[in-house]
């Protein structure tokens, strides 16, 4: 009796299940880290893709912030339940690259699926971060931004400085900060992401190494090198500004954004992707300027590097599912989708065609300054120092840099001592990463 019932349940199950496996679209999982408006925009992209064809269905899921999403992916891989596509922030790039058994490089996925894939269609300084030294793309750049200088024009005017004052070099910024301070301004300059902007991008922009072995691109036996004279000079200058009340430190992440958007700070170094938030909240006249550089440093300004995330394809799935992955990645790279993403979010376009379309649409004319990040990234061909960073345990190394920079801002250490200490402590972590991934 019981056996009979069980058998009929199984039969019914098999009958119900079989049409799904035969006719339904191939389903793939996509885990990302976006909420709010960005989350809505991702959901819209997925919906558009699913509606555009009938063979494949992408299921997107939000898994927390960048760190949490990476952790969720790792935990899922250990339990053999990994998604097909995982969003990983740029800091996790070396971790993913080293996990050769856990990932399928994008160029292989595309080749195996027979999908059309032209690596040259992507903007060099964007794809460079996620490409091997011999030009093979490992993950698909998804959201990329680069640091720029945000200016409160009203604050400059109030201090008796022309709102169009030249802020192209740090020397000129210094003069403006002096005037702001003299006029009684409480917060002449603040920043977000201090390590990313004032050391990582700073080094690339001045064409000096952040780490040896081409910033880690040539191997895991790399060592940190950001305690050179140019970086020390910059950090020491910032430290002096902090002491004199010209630079206000708000926190390790993007806490300073609230101070700028609220109109309290005059100048703000932050990602170009801060655009959406600033446009929505700022009740003053603002402008975007290129990131300043130190005049007199040979090779500056080179190009800045990116921050953001890329999409990694995880291993261990069926080959027809990888066809679906290839189709989805191609869809994301298509010109219309990319141009829309770029215009909606302030993130960089990942393909040259999407940038061209945005220009042709007249978007840059209607929204002045939105092309500055693109120009900053693309006017010069990236060098070994400005292609990007590929360092293991980099999230922790950034934590160490944060700690040491805080010692400079509070006046406990001078820049040379702090950066030497950061390099020495970071190198220990790099050696550990090398040991784990040799």
């Amino acid at each position: 009796m019981f056996k009979k019932a069980l058998f009929s349940i199984m039969l019914a199950g098999a009958l119900l299940a079989s049409p799904i496996t035969t006719f339904a679209a191939t389903e793939i999982q996509f885990w990302h880290a976006f909420t709010g408006r960005l989350g809505d925009l991702v959901a819209e992209q997925v919906k558009t893709f699913n509606a555009s064809q009938g063979d494949y269905t992408v299921v997107a899921a939000h898994k927390g912030n960048y760190s949490e999403t990476l952790n969720a992916g790792i935990a899922a891989f250990r339990a053999s339940e990994q998604p097909h596509i995982l969003m990983v922030f740029e800091v996790g790039t070396a971790t993913m690259m080293a996990a050769r058994g856990a990932i399928n490089p994008v160029h292989e996925v595309m080749a195996n699926a027979g999908a059309k894939f032209d690596p040259d269609a992507y903007i060099g300084s964007v794809k460079g971060y996620y490409t091997t030294t011999d030009g093979k793309m490992l993950s698909l750049p998804f959201n990329s931004s680069t640091p720029v200088l945000w200016v409160n024009r009203d604050a400059l005017k109030a201090a008796g400085i022309g709102p169009d004052a030249d802020l192209s070099t740090w020397q000129k910024v210094g003069v403006v900060l002096d005037k702001l301070k003299a006029s009684g301004h409480k917060c002449p300059l603040t920043t977000a992401w201090q390590s990313w902007i004032h050391l990582e991008n700073f080094s690339a922009y001045h064409n000096i190494p952040f780490a040896t072995k081409d910033n880690g691109f040539m191997g895991v036996d790399t060592e940190l090198a950001f305690n050179g004279p140019v970086q020390v000079k910059h950090i020491q200058t910032m430290g002096n500004w902090a002491k004199e009340g010209k630079f206000f430190y708000a926190g390790r992440r993007n806490e300073g954004g609230a101070n700028f958007r609220g109109g309290e700070c005059a100048l703000f170094t932050e990602s170009s992707a801060g655009y959406a938030g600033i446009k929505a909240e700022a009740k003053f006249d603002f402008a975007v300027r290129p990131l300043p550089y130190w005049d007199g440093v040979n090779g500056a300004p080179q190009n800045t590097i990116i921050g953001g995330a890329s999409l990694w394809v995880m291993s261990g799935h069926k080959s027809d599912e990888y066809k679906a992955v290839a189709a989805f990645l191609n869809f994301l790279s298509s010109t219309d989708i990319q141009a829309k993403w770029h215009q909606d979010t302030g993130y960089l376009p990942i393909t040259i065609a999407a940038g061209d379309k945005t220009r042709a649409d007249g978007f840059y004319q209607k929204n002045p300054g939105t092309d500055i990040a693109v120009i900053q990234m693309t006017t010069r061909q990236p060098t070994a120092n400005s292609k990007g960073l590929r360092l293991g345990s980099f999230d922790q190394i950034r934590g160490i840099i944060d700690e040491e920079l805080e010692a400079v801002w509070s006046g406990d250490k001078n820049a040379q001592t702090a950066l030497n200490s950061a390099v020495q402590r970071g190198n220990k972590l790099l050696r550990r990463f090398e040991q784990a991934n040799r």
Partner: protein
């Protein structure tokens, strides 16, 4: 003469403690064993390869002066959290014990903060002391004090201590309040007739009679400060400024779950396990001798 109740046979007692043994085995012995095992390896995050390093993880940690410094930070932090959560709790309990009207409302209100999760409590305190929009930091600014826990190490420590200790005041209050009710009235009344003042009665009679509760709370609160406070640290300071609030358990969390360094994280939790084990032994051996049951 002590009264002893004994079971006949051993099946029933075994059956009665069996659930507890199973729970301890699954949720304590198994993970602790795993941590000890993992602390001998450097694995890659994905579990694809793992390398035996013997005591290498411990050597890596103990030769790091910043790791060693966080022992001191943890000591200061735990001591302060214990004080901040126990002293006000005792004071409030004594006050509540003297209340005649409205004691129930007073008690209920005092218990509320215990229902707030540590990470949420962290966010609440962070909002109050936010350097830009915080209510408290604004008032301090009006008084001419420039509050900035983002760069000032002492202020950051003070803030995480208060945020961690605040919810525990309720918990400690409950225990102190119950213990106070058990203090025999006749002893206190006798002392009062002899002319002892309130504070004299408190220090010579009540406090010694509370010592078993105080001792229990001391152990429990130190364990809390050691293990359960990383949510508060994570939301308020992330261990900063510099390393001012990097306590041992926060580093276990950060290295393991943010940095993906599972070997080091496991080794750190083994060190923490030994440390708290040793601390508890010390407490039972030396402090308990001064407790009167």
């Amino acid at each position: 003469m002590e009264k002893l109740v004994t079971f006949k046979g051993w099946l029933l007692p075994l059956a009665l403690i069996f659930p507890q043994i199973v729970i301890s085995a699954i949720f304590f012995f198994y993970p602790a064993g795993q941590a000890i095992w993992q602390s001998l390896f450097i694995p890659d995050p994905f579990g694809l390869s793992t390398k035996f390093v013997g005591l290498g993880n411990f050597e890596f940690l103990l030769t790091d002066e910043f790791y060693r410094a966080s022992f001191l930070t943890t000591g200061i932090f735990s001591l302060l959290v214990t004080l901040v959560s126990m002293v006000p709790a005792l004071f409030l309990a004594v006050m509540a014990d003297r209340l005649i009207k409205g004691a129930g409302v007073y008690r209920t209100l005092l218990i509320w903060p215990y229902a707030v999760a540590p990470a949420i409590a962290g966010v609440l305190w962070l909002f109050m002391f936010n350097t830009r929009v915080g209510v408290v930091s604004w008032y301090l600014g009006q008084l001419g004090y420039d509050w900035n826990h983002v760069l000032n190490e002492a202020e950051a420590m003070g803030l995480v201590v208060v945020a961690s200790g605040w919810g525990r005041v309720s918990y400690n209050f409950l225990f102190f309040f119950a213990a106070l009710q058990a203090v025999p009235r006749s002893v206190i009344e006798a002392a009062a007739i002899d002319g002892a003042s309130f504070w004299r009665r408190f220090f010579t009679i009540v406090l010694p009679l509370l010592s078993p509760t105080t001792f229990f709370l001391l152990v429990v609160n130190i364990v809390y400060a050691f293990f359960e406070t990383f949510g508060v640290i994570h939301t308020i300071t992330s261990g900063g400024p510099q390393q001012a609030t990097t306590i041992l358990v926060y580093k276990v969390f950060a290295d393991g779950f943010v940095g993906q360094d599972l070997g080091s994280s496991a080794a750190q939790s083994v060190i923490l396990l030994l440390l708290v084990g040793a601390l508890t032994v010390v407490q039972f051996k030396f402090v308990e001798k001064r407790v009167h049951y």
